[in-house]
């Protein structure tokens, strides 16, 4: 098919062609076209099916406010649903499909819904699918889900990259129409750092759509000249294809730049879109205005569009939707459309104006009356007019322009909860006084709908925003027509007159909503869905409000608007995520031994952001338990090594360092000798345990504190809080050194023998006893730290070196330990050994447990003040019935003891009211050859040896267990001190 509806002129590049495909059919357009303009040029008006009734629809607009012409763009992994044909820039090879249809676009099987329109009214789903309840999940929901929704997802990974960026400027100008361009010119010439952003690919706004002149130039030429000058100014950044989506606090704006959407595929190394965060001192909102339609019976047929859109198609894209066009208007703008189209050789069937004092024309017929209905199954063919004197006329036309007036695009003025004001002159909302800080609104967005108003507004806004002195620059001569408008929203007596074409909401639905008591605008929106979905009611909200106002006997401003929220136009989740997807979702932190562990075939597990070795399988091992059991036994029988770098390390220095630790730990540190390490328990102020670790005193005024891996950050934050906010004059400094030191646990009876070969100093039991710590050197001089602490319950050390030597140290340990068959172990074996030893960890310090629950009640010093000490003495946390940490073993050694299961008395009822406690950590103990667990039990300390039922009704667990000490291994601690 040739481009039958292509007109002369326009701003398309006729020297080049773009071949594209819509629903499998090939067409040709030109660079400068949108998908919608190119389809219209080819005589295609039908572009989609409506959401609910599957009525045939074509574009209503020529911009981002489009409710109807939603298509699936591209194919394969790049397929994107719900893109607006009116904003999709045409490129060679573009592929698009219509959506929301069963069968073809011309014969959509779900169009049957339209026959049941009397049933499918507002609130249909709420009223209909109420009972029987059992049918909801199995029958109703699957059917509704299948029928609902618009486009479909590819369900494949998006192959493209999305980026985030940050920009700073003095002045952000939103919109590059006459207002924005004039503002940018004024500010740019004054030397300000300016960002000029516009959602369109061609700058100029309505100047590209109109035949108006500025000075002695066409509007489009003037715009091109201004853009040319701005491009020479180094202080001005011009950003086409960039939608400012939201105004956030303190001059922060979000903007999406569509870098590659207008290409077949992004250039190598380029992102598809960029989310910019713009920090600006001042902002000029020059977002223009959006035209609104008039509702009447069957006003949704393909070919029926906004009058301004018809002008855009004719003047900018050199396209008419049909050779015969009628106009329905309540203001002078409709006559402008007729004049422009007539000048391009389009036949004007008639201009129908609801006003009695109608401007006459010599070129075409002007009627005083209103449209009452239309005909045409897949596109408009006839329009019926009722003249003011009551007689009926039928107009033959394939396109119809609706002009109901223009609404200023005030959305962003309301993103900080600003409320708009009503302006009677243009019968529309304009920005209120409570704008986001630093924002000035100008031009059509501020209700000045003439070109002169735009130019003046833009220049004045730039002056005001930047505090420029002097007069406004001399502005070129431009159109300054008044707005002659009679508010008119819908034709009396209509019912299936579409207000919101995207959601298929009719005048009748709004009336029904009111009748059923949904009278606030927010209720109306949710009950009828008016103003929802991708267009957010840009063309429909005002009509709904007007009808609500009429029914309630109020004015439109009394009824009010729903709240405008970001984003201004639909924003892909991909650009909000940016590069934070898949493996890059959060940072990946590698331990110093990672490379080495990888070479050993370690299996890794994510712990916070860290990747830690979980176990080190050997070729012969077929199950992870086999590996873990071997690692545990090897450590207990000889020696094992584990990377514990991920544990938080905090360096605490100053003359008040010990006093400071006395505040953050519930137990005392003042008397800890230099060269000694002590376990410390940290409470929250409410008396609940926060974290535990060790503090090693390396000098009188120097401690090294460890935290659990997961709490490294919160504990450090808390320590800074205590230091800065609670005890501001303590002489103490804290700094996180987690990344600065590589640290390995070397555990097992042969650990001393192993380390003696590496450490330069004497580490015999006398010289370096249990809980000793100190600065040492290794391998003949490398500075290091040694701590004789044990998480496994064995004779053990932790040895730390500056991180750069971490890889060398693990290799050295393995080499020195070869004679003892030193075995690397992972987090799983670490966990087994600490459960065997009854050491609490994250599962026990779970945000609900106190020192008393953990069996450390007596550690909370009453002789000093520490965070949490006072509230840990509260009644509810003490006395009869408290939980105590105990151990569990199965009566039948073959039974598991699963974590999460709850304890019940052996002969009592099994229900929540008789709950006795729960299991927190469980494992198979290779040392004991059966399952073991630790957990919390009511009055647990007094119930050793008791037999209980351990149940988990959800997973079907019901086993008999015996209560034991949590210390399954070496309860006297002889191994530790060996």
């Amino acid at each position: 098919m040739t481009q039958v509806n292509r007109l002369p002129g326009g701003q398309i590049d006729r020297t080049q062609s773009c071949k594209f495909t819509f629903d499998g059919k090939a067409y040709t357009g030109h660079p400068g076209d949108t998908l919608a303009s190119a389809l219209l040029a080819n005589g295609v008006r039908l572009m989609g099916r409506s959401f609910k009734y599957h009525r045939p629809r074509g574009p209503l607009t020529a911009g981002s406010e489009e409710p109807n012409a939603l298509v699936e763009l591209r194919d394969g992994a790049r397929q994107e649903p719900n893109t607006r044909a009116t904003t999709v820039e045409l490129y060679d090879g573009l592929l698009a499909k219509s959506q929301n249809r069963v069968g073809s676009l011309r014969f959509d099987l779900l169009a049957i819904n339209d026959r049941f329109s009397n049933v499918l009214t507002a609130g249909f789903y709420y009223k209909t699918f109420m009972w029987p309840a059992a049918l909801w999940e199995k029958l109703y929901e699957p059917i509704i889900r299948k029928a609902a929704g618009l486009g479909s997802l590819s369900l494949k990974d998006d192959p493209d990259v999305y980026d985030k960026g940050f920009l700073h400027c003095d002045l952000l100008i939103i919109g590059a129409g006459p207002t924005g361009l004039m503002a940018a010119l004024t500010a740019g010439r004054a030397g300000a750092d300016v960002i000029l952003a516009d959602e369109d690919f061609a700058l100029g706004g309505r100047l590209n759509s109109e035949t108006l002149t500025i000075g002695d130039q066409s509007g489009a030429d003037w715009a091109a000249e201004v853009v040319g000058e701005l491009a020479t100014l180094p202080n001005v950044r011009i950003m086409p294809r960039t939608t400012v989506i939201g105004a956030f606090d303190h001059g922060v704006y979000g903007a999406v730049e569509r870098v590659s959407d207008h290409m077949y595929a992004p250039d190598a190394g380029k992102p598809r879109q960029v989310l910019w965060r713009i920090y600006t001192q001042k902002t000029i909102l020059a977002a223009g205005a959006t035209e609104r339609p008039i509702a009447f019976e069957n006003n949704d047929r393909p070919g029926i569009m906004l009058g301004g859109a018809l002008r855009t198609y004719a003047n900018r894209f050199a396209v008419t939707a049909d050779k015969r066009v009628a106009i329905f208007t309540n203001n002078d703008d409709g006559h402008r459309t007729a004049a422009d189209l007539h000048a391009k050789g389009v036949r004007i069937s008639a201009v129908v104006d609801i006003r009695p004092d109608v401007p006459r024309s010599l070129d075409y017929e002007v009627l005083h009356g209103e449209l009452v209905n239309t005909k045409g199954r897949l596109g408009l063919t006839f329009a019926e007019v009722r003249l003011a004197d009551g007689t009926m006329r039928t107009l033959e036309c394939g396109a119809l322009g609706l002009s109901g007036g223009w609404n200023p695009n005030i959305h962003m003025t309301c993103h900080q909860r600003g409320r708009p004001l009503w302006n009677d002159d243009i019968a529309a909302f304009v920005p209120g006084a409570d704008l986001p800080a630093g924002m000035v609104v100008a031009g059509a967005a501020n209700g000045n709908l003439s070109t002169t108003g735009a130019l003046q507004g833009g220049a004045a806004a730039a002056k005001q925003a930047l505090g420029l002195k002097g007069r406004l620059p001399k502005l070129p001569q431009a159109e300054d027509a008044p707005v002659n408008l009679k508010p008119f929203w819908y034709v009396e007596g209509c019912s299936r007159a579409w207000l919101d074409q995207q959601n298929d909401v009719t005048v009748k639905d709004v009336k029904l909503s009111h009748q059923e008591g949904f009278r606030s605008v927010e209720h109306l929106k949710r009950y009828t869905t008016l103003g929802m979905a991708t267009d957010q009611g840009k063309t429909s909200n005002m009509g709904g409000l007007a009808i609500m106002a009429e029914l309630a006997g109020k004015t439109i401003p009394e009824v009010g608007t729903t709240i405008f929220r970001p984003p201004y136009t639909p924003t892909a989740i991909g650009v909000l995520g940016g590069r934070h997807r898949g493996q890059e979702f959060h940072p990946k932190r590698l331990t110093p031994s990672h490379k080495w562990a990888e070479a050993q075939g370690a299996v890794f597990v994510e712990v916070g952001n860290w990747l830690r070795a979980q176990w080190f399988p050997q070729a012969s091992e077929t199950h992870w338990r086999e590996t873990v059991d071997r690692e545990v036994l090897a450590t207990r029988n000889s020696v094992g090594v584990c990377d514990v770098t991920t544990l938080g390390k905090v360096d605490v220095q100053g003359t008040d360092a010990a006093g400071f630790l006395n505040k953050v730990y519930c137990n005392g540190f003042a008397k800890l000798a230099v060269g000694k390490t002590r376990y410390g328990l940290m409470l929250r102020e409410d008396g609940i345990a926060m974290d535990d670790g060790t503090a090693a005193r390396l000098a009188e005024d120097h401690f090294v504190v460890t935290t659990t891996t997961a709490n490294a950050l919160p504990v450090y934050r808390h320590m800074e809080f205590v230091r800065q906010c609670l005890f501001p004059d303590m002489d103490v400094q804290v700094i996180s050194t987690t990344e600065a030191w590589a640290q390995y646990a070397v555990a097992g009876p042969n650990s001393r023998k192993l380390l003696s070969q590496i450490v330069d100093q004497d580490i015999s039991n006398d010289a370096f006893p249990f809980m000793a710590c100190g600065n040492i050197t290794i391998c003949g001089g490398l500075r290091a730290r040694l701590f004789r602490i044990s998480f496994s319950g064995e004779l053990a050390y932790e040895i730390a070196v500056p991180t750069a030597y971490g890889d060398a140290l693990i290799r050295k340990i393995m080499e020195a330990g070869a004679q003892y068959d030193v075995t690397p172990y992972g987090t799983e074996a670490l966990g087994v050994m600490r459960i065997e030893k009854g050491h609490a960890a994250g599962n026990e310090l779970n945000g609900t447990t106190t020192a008393l629950n953990l069996g450390m009640g007596r550690m909370v010093s009453k002789k000093k003040d520490s965070v949490g000490s006072t509230l840990s003495e509260r009644e509810g946390l003490n006395g009869e019935g408290q939980l105590y940490q105990v151990g569990f073993k199965p009566i039948d050694p073959k039974d598991p003891v699963p974590a999460g299961a709850h304890l019940m008395n052996a002969d009592g009822p099994v229900d929540a009211a008789h709950d006795q406690g729960y299991v927190t950590s469980a494992c198979y103990s290779p040392h004991l050859d059966h399952a073991i667990a630790i957990g919390f039990l009511k009055n647990g300390a007094d119930r050793m040896g008791e037999h209980m039922r351990l149940v988990s009704p959800l997973t079907g667990v019901d086993v008999k267990v015996e209560i034991t000490s949590a210390h399954f291994i070496d309860p006297e601690g002889e191994r530790l001190r060996a």
Binding site: F721, Q724, C725
Partner: protein, 95 residues
């Protein structure tokens, strides 16, 4: 949101971690007769003002200063930003 750090100038709120009401600076005396009641109120009771509010922010991705930010909870306007340490001293928390 932008927080005007008294040492570093305006910084994006994304660099900070929020804690809550700056009354957390006013930790009670543990040896007072009414210590338990005082700590209960300190730990659990908060005003929830629609308007000006002094609150604690931690510059976690920055210089690790705790700040007292005076912010309007309705408009998000920030009228004052101080080092929490200075506020603590002014409130008598010196040794």
């Amino acid at each position: 949101m932008i927080i005007d750090h008294p040492l570093l100038g305006p910084r994006d709120a994304a660099e900070f971690t929020y804690l809550g009401d700056a009354k957390l600076i006013d930790r009670p005396d543990w040896q007072s007769e009414t210590a338990r009641q005082d700590f209960y109120e300190y730990a659990y009771l908060r005003e929830n003002p629609a308007g000006w509010h002094q609150e604690l922010w931690f510059h976690e991705a920055g210089d690790r200063s705790w700040l007292v930010v005076t912010r309007n909870t309705v408009t998000h306007e920030i009228s004052k930003v101080e080092l929490a340490r200075d506020v603590a001293r002014a409130r008598g928390r010196s040794k």
